[in-house]
Assembly symmetry: none
Homo-oligomer: 555 residues x 2
């Protein structure tokens, strides 16, 4: 509940409730955080991950410290097969996480050793196989059209084969909760078979997502007595994926599956970041490898939205841009007395920030901190306030400096009169032409002045930004040969106000690399070409300015 | 969990698990669904509701059948005061719901009858007052700076005054759970005071949103023994707002507060639609006035997003556009056998629809289902296989038909030789120019043939796509005046392989509306302008082709 009750005290109200916190569950000796973003998360509508995307996401997940990363289902689709091949070639280097391959039990009536899909899992070079198995009697008999006994044999045989080949095996028990309700004896038999075959654990899956926490607690509690280590895999169809995951952990599960940002089919999977933050901050467990890992959560979550190009929800627990945002009013003065009065945790614990919406945008303190990180002295209050004003004015127009440190540094230098521009653009244009067959050609011209010479060059490209990049690069090269080493590695466009169709304002972010460093610049405008040009020309400007500074320092 | 396990049966698998469902909680004799979208929901970042917006939302909430609508805090802000004045004038006519006014207990040391804020609540013409009261000893002493006894007197006095004026009174106990942990005796004393003063119920608020379901169950269970009817008010900071609300209901709460679509400050409030759907469909309760009310949920939820202008999450439980969307290929063959195999409820129960997503994992079965939904007979296996081949080939090049139903239908018609194009493009070009000040102008020319005439028109715009849209529209208008009603409502660009910078392939999606329908088209290419042109010209093509077909049918 949010109210505007006035606070008129300057005493700090302690919100350390530890004296009366409830008894917390004890952390199991071994606890697994298992990410399935690259397989089950990729089932989300509109989410398509290339092999390169998967490698970037896996690297980010490894940074935050999940224990297992399920890379996909080798053999089931070419993209996943190629991902595992790339990982085997050394294109994916994990520091902490273990790579897992999804798979399934062998087909009915066959032998695991001869099954091509089982072979694809076995030969994937993943250390762990996570196999889906039927645990719902109705699905076995009527969907797989085999006998209940043959399903058990399929599990035994496949687990035994992969174990004999040296793999660790986890079993995803599909439709477990629905199946247990229909026929608990058979579902228990499946778990006993899994244990006897030598699988390491059984993951209980709420495949259709229809469960509620008390039902999860009850069923997990009943089967925990079998002694087999258990995992949990939830979907959010009742809005309870996180709570259901926690309920299973309370009842004894030592392995929790989910996806970053809750990606997944239908309503998505359990948001693994929220589950991990709850376990670390509400239970006091250490489920990530380092004490500071959790402070990377917001950064990693946002970086992954940049790869998936699925905008994150501002209201996402812990990491959302609004998660610690407070609307103005008397409430704000309460927060000034003690921010913890109106927030359940310190946002710094998850790498997020409290935001006061009285001034929608960045505050002076964060500008000062950021400036210092970049090597500028902003301790002068008036100077910091002036820069904050400039940032606010630009953010109100749609700029975002969160991801665009290079543009922020250019803005700082400009405001501090420390920006000596090495080139000056006189004009540019870009033309796209197409005939009846639909194939289009794009050509750009850029005219600029650098080191006293005026240069005009033409560039062609696969679209206007590419053509402008080629023209700008050629025009700068005579004066600054270093630009030939600049490589534009990513180009992202976001509609800022999607209500206005092709008239809408857009924000463009460009990542540039020079072999040693990568930097990001931002451009904004109603004209996407103009916004792209701003980000593009600032990318070159930043590269040239900072290289010059580094050279000056080294002399 | 989403898997591609094959199903090879035509028998229907019953998913009616009622024989073994767990014991469900009994519905209390009186149960309240209390909506606070117009007050607490309006605290959401970026959400600004005018008086007219509030009236539209209240009318929609009344249609779905909530029991109480909290209209705001009269006297605390002018907008809310005006809303209650408008309601009193008859601008808001509720068929079913009771209007409630938020308020607070009187100020310390005063008299309720003389307190201007209490008077504003009293004089609001709402039948119910919902007053916020402190129930956390630390907030009373250090934030309100009054004594624990005076806080109790503030509650008694204010409740007695409003009761004597004929109002029903509910009390929102702010920070109840955090307070109960610090000092359970005082929090219980607050509840006893509320009961003795004649308030109808006490709403236990997890103001900072830090609770987990088992903690809610425990505390609600402990205070339920006092005999005062209880309500629950949750926020989603741990991702558990829905589960926490259900946990309180399980423990005896008979009044649940939330907001439509989970709007609210920070991570939002409990999503009231999800809670209600869970109670009706998972517990079998009747908490809405009519048996069919729940089938309005999706429509009402979406209609309210149109008022708030906050895009709904596709993954929102029950009502999201992806909530019953299925992607996996072989998975689709299972759904063809029985859709309930992979969904937890029949989507029609909440007024939503199952959707098959055409993706690169798609098989023939999903293409057939999708084709039938669009009115094409694809029962011929060879035909379906041929179309599947075309879809796969195009998806391999980067097309995605998941969200682009219109492009999929054009592809179907083309493959079936049922596409008679009403216009033919001869050529087009687009030019962007900028000078030293950086401002850019964009101009496009489109030349096409329609109804035997060749037309060439020029358009200007905020970027190349906008300019092409204007030129194309003007060129088509002489032959097809209907195009002037087409409105491009969204334009999305996705880099398909982000590893190649500005050289990368892109996919463009365009949403178009004609006042009655909205459709989505897709274009792909290494040249973003070419890809945009494809999506744009297909948007017009689809509109003209389907309008012609509808007209032909109606003749």
């Amino acid at each position: 509940m949010s109210t505007d009750q006035p606070l008129s005290t300057h005493e700090s109200l302690s919100t350390n409730e530890s004296l009366s916190t409830p008894v917390l569950p004890a952390q199991p000796d071994s606890f697994h955080v298992y990410d399935t973003t690259l397989r089950d998360g990729a089932q989300q509508e509109g989410l398509r991950l290339s092999v390169a995307d998967k490698i970037r996401i896996a690297t980010l997940l490894d940074e935050v410290g999940v224990n297992f990363i399920e890379g996909g289902w080798p053999g089931a689709n070419p993209n996943d097969t190629e991902f595992f091949a790339a990982a085997a070639r050394g294109d994916l280097l994990l520091k902490h996480a273990t790579l897992a391959a999804f798979g399934s039990t062998r087909r009915a009536g066959g032998r695991a050793a001869d099954d091509p899909l089982v072979a694809a899992t076995r030969d994937s070079a993943a250390q762990v196989a996570c196999l889906v198995a039927k645990s719902h009697d109705g699905h076995v008999e009527r969907a797989l059209r085999t006998t209940l006994d043959e399903n058990l044999a399929m599990i035994s045989d496949t687990v035994a084969h992969l174990r004999s080949e040296g793999m660790r095996v986890f079993i995803d028990c599909e439709h477990f909760f629905d199946g247990y309700r229909r026929n608990p004896a058979y579902s228990r038999e499946v778990l006993r078979t899994i244990a006897e075959a030598g699988a390491e654990l059984a993951v209980l899956c709420d495949t259709n997502g229809g469960m509620l926490p008390q039902w999860i607690t009850e069923i997990v509690g009943e089967v925990a007595e079998l002694g087999l280590p258990l995992g949990i895999h939830c979907h959010n169809d009742t809005g309870c994926a996180v709570a259901n995951s926690m309920a299973a952990v309370d009842a004894g599960a030592m392995h929790v599956q989910g996806t970053i940002n809750g990606y997944g089919e239908r309503t998505g999977n359990a948001d693994l970041g929220t589950v991990v933050a709850n376990l670390e901050l509400k239970y006091g467990w250490s489920v990530l490898p380092h004490p500071d890992s959790l402070t990377e959560l917001t950064r990693i979550s946002h970086a992954i939205t940049a790869v998936t190009n699925v905008a994150g929800s501002p209201r996402q627990p812990y990491v959302g841009s609004s998660a610690f945002a407070h609307k103005a009013g008397l409430h704000a003065s309460a927060i000034k007395v003690d921010p913890n009065l109106y927030q359940h945790i310190d946002p710094a614990l998850v790498g997020n920030d409290m935001r006061m919406l009285i001034s929608d945008m960045a505050g002076r303190a964060s500008i000062q901190i950021k400036g210092e990180q970049l090597g500028f002295d902003l301790s002068d209050r008036d100077l910091a306030a002036r820069i904050t004003g400039v940032v606010k004015e630009r953010e109100a127009r749609g700029y975002s400096y969160e991801a665009a440190d290079a543009s922020f540094e250019l803005l700082l230098r400009d405001t501090l009169d420390q920006l000596d521009k090495p080139f000056s653009v006189i004009n540019w244009r870009v033309l796209t032409n197409a005939g009846r067959n639909g194939d289009a050609d794009t050509e750009a011209t850029v005219k600029l002045e650098a080191k006293g010479d005026v240069q005009a060059f033409v560039g062609e490209g696969n679209g206007p930004v590419d053509a402008l990049d080629h023209a700008l690069r050629r025009a700068l090269e005579p004066a600054f040969p270093a630009v030939m080493h600049y490589d534009l590695t990513d180009y992202r466009v976001r509609i800022i106000d999607s209500g206005h169709g092709t008239d809408a304002s857009v924000r463009v972010l460009i990542d540039t690399r020079d072999g040693e460093h990568t930097w990001t610049t931002v451009g904004v405008g109603t004209n996407v070409i103009e916004a792209s040009w701003e980000a593009l020309s600032d990318a070159y400007l930043y590269g040239l300015v900072t290289v010059r500074d580094r050279e000056a320092t080294s002399v």
